[in-house]
Each structure stands twice: as C-alpha cells, then as structure tokens.
C-alpha cells in the first residue's frame, strides 16, 4: 500500500466534515489498508465501541434457553427465576416424558373402568413428590453443598422448584384425566391428595433427606389406598369426601410444620 490518507483528511472524515469526493476516496481505501484503519481507530469514541462490544459478548454468552425457560420468561417470570427452574432436573424433558406416562395409565384406565380409575388416582399424586425428590437433596442435586453456602435460602429454592413441579404435573394429569370415562368429579379426586402428599413430603424433608421423605410418604399413601379398598370393599374409599377432607387437613398441618422448621434446610445434616 503506497498511498495513505493524509491525517488531516482522516480527521475531517471522522468528524463528518469531509467533502463527498474525498470521503469516497477514504472509504474505498480503508477496508484494505491496516495503517489508515489504525489511524482512524483513535478518532472514534472508545467508550461507545466498548459498549457495543459488551453487547456482543452478552449475546455470545447468553446461556441457551430451553423451551421451558423461554416459555416461562414469555409469561413474565423474571430471568433469574426462570433460569433456576430451567436447571431443575424435574423440569427437563426426560421428566416431562415420565409425566406423559400418566396419559398411558389414563388410557388404560379408560378401558378398565373402576380398577383403572383407582390406579390412576393412586399414582397421580405420586408424580409431584417424585419430582421434588429429584429436584433437591444431597444425593441428587450435585450443587447441593455450593448451594448451601449461597445466601439464597435453600428452602426458597426448594419451594420454587416444588411449585414448578406441582404445576407441571397437575397440568399434565389434568389433561390426562380428560381421557377417563365419564367426566365426573372423581376424575379430579387426585388434586387434594397431590397437595397433601407434596406438603407432607416437604415437611418431612425438614427431618430426612428429600428422597427418603418422599419415599416414605409414597409408601404410606399407597398402603392407605390399598388397605382402604380392601377393608371396606370400596376401592375408591380414600378418594371419597372424607378422604378428600383428610388430605386437606394433612396438607394444612404439614404446611404449619414446614413454616416452623424453615431453618433446617440451611445446613448440612438438618436441624442446626
């Protein structure tokens, strides 16, 4: 490159004062001449260029958003909460796939009438607590220890995730229950037990590890359904009015226990 732009012309060009022919010359020249490009770089506002670079880095780094996270953000959930939920194993595709199994049971239930209904109603409330077990706990959450040392209250994190799991499983199950024969109040009889089991598991998780808490609640539930059906020869006993009210009562007690023991999630090994 033997010809370079005169410094005073570069300055005029940078200021926007260059006359048209001259500007044209400069522009034809610059893309190929590193010397003149270097000269002109000093004449452009560095702060502004730094800001634009910041934007570029931001775009390059922006963490990939899964469909769940993107969806949450669209309905107005704040960025960082959506990110937390998006990382929950319970909300990832594999988990949602498991929920879809409920649909399979529903279809089976549709063909088997009463037995089908019992199985469906017994299994549906177990979905949220399985999700919670998967979302939190020293064995299943790899960032458990680092998370404890962070200021965000671990219980808050657990509750956010529990709520997300509850909402997802409730929605999936509600859709599935439409497949059951005869739209009937009994198709929604899993709602109260769902809530009851979830809150009880959370309350128990103040004493035991989350998976153990959820496991024991699941066992007790299934036994109640089975025994209730056997003893009275009415398989849907647990889901009747008395059963629903009991579930609500249990849920209320569990919520109270949970509220009183929020501290126990804050350290390793439970109660400080």
């Amino acid at each position: 490159m033997t010809w370079h732009v005169r410094p005073d012309l570069l300055e005029r060009y940078a200021r926007g004062d260059a006359e048209a022919t001259q500007a044209y010359s400069v522009e034809a020249h610059l893309p190929s001449c590193e010397h003149c490009r270097g000269q002109i770089a000093a004449l452009v506002d560095a702060g502004r260029l730094e800001r634009v670079w910041d934007d570029i880095e931001e775009h390059l780094d922006a963490p990939r958003r899964g469909p769940v996270e993107a969806g949450l953000i669209r309905v107005g959930v704040p960025d960082h909460v959506a990110r937390l939920l998006g990382a929950t194993p319970a909300l990832r595709l594999s988990w949602l796939l498991a929920c879809a199994l409920v649909l399979v049971f529903a279809a089976w239930g549709a063909s088997r009438r009463t037995e089908g209904l019992v199985v469906f109603l017994a299994l549906a409330p177990l979905l949220p607590i399985a999700g919670i077990a998967a979302a939190y706990g020293p064995d299943l959450d790899p960032t458990y220890e680092i998370g404890l040392a962070a200021p965000m209250h671990s219980l808050r994190l657990l509750l956010i995730r529990a709520l997300a799991v509850l909402v997802t499983t409730t929605a999936t199950t509600a859709v599935a229950s439409l497949a059951l024969p005869g739209l009937h109040w009994s198709a929604a009889a899993w709602l109260a037990p769902s809530l009851g089991l979830t809150l009880t598991s959370l309350a128990l998780a103040t004493r035991l590890a989350a998976p153990a808490a959820c496991g024991s609640v699941a066992v007790v539930w299934l036994l109640s359904v089975a025994i209730g059906g056997r003893v009275t020869d009415e398989p849907l006993l647990v889901f009747g009015l008395a059963g629903q009210l009991t579930c609500m009562l249990v849920a209320a007690i569990a919520a109270a226990v949970l509220a009183r023991n929020t501290d126990s999630f804050e350290r390793r090994g439970g109660i400080a």
Partner: protein, 174 residues
C-alpha cells in the same frame, strides 16, 4: 504494529471459536465501520445495532470467508447488508442519503487520489440521486435490488439512474 497477525489469520482463529480473536478483529475494524455506516444512516442507535449484528455474523460465518479480497471488504459486505435489514425495519425518515461521487466503472481498481481533480469534478457534477446509486452499487458493492432497499427506491430506478450516470460521465470525460 510489527509481528502482528494478518486479518486472514485472525479470522481463521475466529472460525475456530477463539473469542479473543474476535475482539482483535473488532478493535481493528469496528471504528471505520462505525464511520462508514454513519454516512449511510443518521441514527447512531441503528449503526450500533448494525455493528453488533455484523460481528455476530462474523463470529458465526468466519469459516465461510473464501479468501478472495480483503477481510475488511468481506466484513463491509456483511455490514452493509445488515444495515439494509435494519433499515427495512425502520421508517424511511432515518435514512441519510450520503453525498457521493462516482468512480468510473471501467477502472474499479484505480485508487482515487484526492488530487485527481477533473474526475472528482465530473463526479461532483452528477446530481445527488445519481451519486447515491453510484456509491451504493460501485463503492458499497450492492446489487441493484440491495441498493434499492438501502435508498428506498425500486430496483428498476437504480438501474436507470446508473445508466444515466455512466452516460453523463462518459460524455464529460471523453
């Protein structure tokens, strides 16, 4: 500035995913891009957005640089098209049609020294609309359709104006 990597080498590093190489390219080219884009669009916000889009596109398509022509020219090709895209999303009032002078189409590789008075004079006697299409097609390397989008006129009009510009210049320089 000795022992520095050439633009081609830096671009190859960008194609490899080297973020720091992108920064090098940015530091070298963003300044003149900012100035050149500003002479085609009066809105600094749109210019900033275009610079950002350009380097994102450079990041993604660094591997597709064919090696033909300078890296700077390749980047300009990306930038001007990003500007056109941005302008299509905006009301036309934002577009500044820059004052421009022609280069004779037959001698595109001749560098215009500022001292070439009579050529510059012939160009300056073109009307602003003719100069604008010449700048868009010759200097910026756009197709008639792209030039039309940049300037907000139909492609056909671009072509007719180019013909008139060429005819006028040939007449003057003959």
């Amino acid at each position: 500035m000795s022992a520095e990597r050439s633009d081609v080498e830096v671009l190859a590093a960008v194609a490899d995913g080297d973020r720091r190489a992108l920064r090098v390219l940015y530091d070298r080219h963003a300044p003149w891009l900012a100035l050149r884009l500003a002479r085609r669009c009066a809105d600094p916000g749109v210019v900033d957005e275009t610079i950002q889009d350009t380097f994102m596109a450079v990041w993604r398509s660094a591997g597709r640089y064919s090696g033909q022509g300078d890296v700077g020219a390749w980047i300009w090709g990306i930038a001007i098209r990003r500007l056109i895209d941005a302008l299509r999303r905006l009301p036309r009032a934002e577009v500044l049609v820059a004052e421009v002078h022609d280069r004779p189409c037959v001698e595109e590789d001749v560098l215009l020294g500022v001292e070439h008075g009579d050529l510059g004079g012939a160009l300056s006697r073109l009307s602003p609309e003719l100069r604008a299409v010449v700048q868009a097609t010759v200097l910026d390397g756009l197709t008639s359709r792209e030039a039309g989008r940049l300037l907000g006129i139909p492609a056909g009009t671009v072509k007719t104006r180019m013909m008139r510009a060429r005819a006028q210049l040939r007449e003057e320089l003959a």
